[in-house]
Structure formats: C-alpha cells, structure tokens
C-alpha cells in the first residue's frame, strides 16, 4: 500500500516525468553507444519507446507527462541557437557554398513537402492529416506553429517531425555511402534539411563539417518551409 501511495505521489510531481525522460534518454544513449552509434540504434527512438511504455503501464495521459517534461522540450530552442557556434567557426566554408546551398534548399524543401503530402493523399489520408504532415521536415517548434496556423494538429505534427528525424538519421549514412557521395558538406546539408535536429545530431557524429552544414540547412529550412507550405498545400489538397 505504501509503495502504491509513493507511486501516486511521484506521478503527480512534474519532476518525476522530467527525471523519467532524462533517465530514458541516458539509457537509450548508453544502448546507442554500446552499439557503436549504429544508425539503426537511434537514441531518440529508444527513449520515446521507453517513455511511451512507461506512460502505458502507469496509465498516465500525455498532457500530465508533458507538463512535467516540457522543460526538456523548451531546451529545443536554446539547442537550435547553439548551432550558431560551429557555423561561426566554419563561416568561410559556408560562404564558399552559398549558391549550392540556396539551390539545394529550394529544391529539397519543395520535394520534402510535395512528396509527403502527395503520397499520403494518394493513400487516402484526410485533409487534417495532410496539413499536419506538410511541415514534418523542420524543427518541432516551428512545424507545430505552421500546422496550427493552417488547421492541422500540432501534437500530431510533433510526432511526425520526430519520426521524420529518426528515419532521416537512420537512412542518411547508408544512402550516401551507397551513392558514393563523399562531399560531407552536401551530405550534412541534406541531413539537416530533410531531418532537422535529429539529422543534424547524426551528422555531427559522422563528420564535423557535415554537422555544420546540417545545422545551417536546419535553420534555413525553418524559414523556407513555413513560406512554401501555405503556397503549395492548397494545390496538393484540392
């Protein structure tokens, strides 16, 4: 009875879910490290699964969980701003690649939106899902704002953003190796554009230059996609 009371007390404490999230990530990161940072052993995916299982076992609803864990979510903002540090250190390299980056940004952002919405629409997904899906390649905070402003479901968008990041982080290295792409600026830029912060984190583990370009792509796409989605979406969802 005492342990049950203790559980009820802890569950109602915001710090419990914050601690559970950090603990789940530490465990997940340990597993990823033990696996040699293999792309299939993604720490975010493992941590999400661990927390989701804990919520299911404890019968806790998502809002209660998020109230406790929102401090971690808030840190997405400062973490994104911190990407400016490696960018500043490699500013000359970035300047030399300004034109390739601009062209790749426009094409990549367009392809990401059109392919996602086009395939989901062809497979019968309803309008609200298509709207929630459209900004899935950009960082969660901005994607949720875009989704909400266009009538989507922001928390569904957040889940799709994370799924996109995990898929990108898993496929980017084998895909680029298979294609024989050895330009780490191009590889990193693609990773950051297609799969935001999770792709950027993956790029930094592969090569520092890839990480810098991934961070730049992530930042630029957080501007390009919110401009493109309202222009493209009406044509795709007619």
């Amino acid at each position: 009875v005492n342990s049950f009371r203790l559980w009820v007390y802890l569950q109602a404490t915001p710090l419990f879910w914050l601690t559970a999230t950090l603990g789940a990530f530490l465990v997940a990161d340990g597993v990823a490290r033990a696996a040699g940072r293999h792309p299939l052993v993604n720490p975010v995916l493992i941590a999400v699964a661990l927390v989701a299982i804990l919520l299911r076992l404890s019968g806790t609803d998502y809002q209660t969980y998020f109230n406790g864990a929102q401090f971690v979510h808030f840190l997405l903002g400062p973490a994104t701003v911190a990407l400016a540090v490696p960018l500043y250190r490699n500013i000359a390299l970035v300047r030399r690649n300004l034109l390739p980056m601009t062209a790749a940004l426009i094409v990549g952002a367009f392809v990401a939106i059109v392919s996602a919405v086009g395939v989901a629409a062809a497979l019968g997904a309803p309008h609200v899902v298509l709207v929630s899906l459209a900004p899935k390649s950009i960082t969660a905070g901005v994607a949720m704002a875009v989704s909400e402003s266009l009538g989507g479901l922001p928390s569904l968008t957040a889940a799709l953003v994370i799924a996109t990041g995990i898929i990108g982080a898993i496929v980017v290295t084998p895909l680029m190796n298979a294609l024989g792409i050895r330009d780490y600026a191009a590889r990193g830029f693609a990773a950051g554009l297609a799969s935001h912060g999770i792709g950027t984190a993956r790029a930094f583990t592969v090569d520092p230059v890839a990480g810098v370009f991934a961070g730049v792509a992530m930042g630029l796409n957080a501007v390009a996609t919110p401009v493109m989605v309202p222009l493209i979406l009406p044509w795709l969802t007619k």
């Binding site: 979510h73 390739p100 928390s155 994370i162 898929i167």
Partner: protein, 50 residues
C-alpha cells in the same frame, strides 16, 4: 523526446492511417535527401567550388 511521445495520443488515427503515414514519411525523407544532395553536388561541380 517529449514531442515524440505525443504519438500515444493518436492510437486510433495511426491504426487507420498508419500505413499511409509510414510510407509517406519514408518516401518523402529519402526523396528530400536525394534531391538536396543531388542539387548541392551538381551546382557545386558546375561552379567549380572545392
């Protein structure tokens, strides 16, 4: 992680449209990676950037 855990709210939606969403996310992510890296490398080669 907290945003990703949001999937627990959409059990019924995922059971109905999960396949469409999964196929869409995989195809779109790979397409975006290929388009971005292809254009980047092509433009860089045309410019002769090292």
């Amino acid at each position: 992680v907290p945003a990703g855990v949001g999937v627990v709210q959409y059990g019924s939606l995922f059971s109905e449209y999960g396949v469409a969403l999964a196929v869409s996310l995989v195809i779109s992510t790979v397409a975006a990676l290929l388009a971005t890296v292809g254009v980047f490398v092509h433009v860089k080669q045309r410019m002769g950037v090292s």
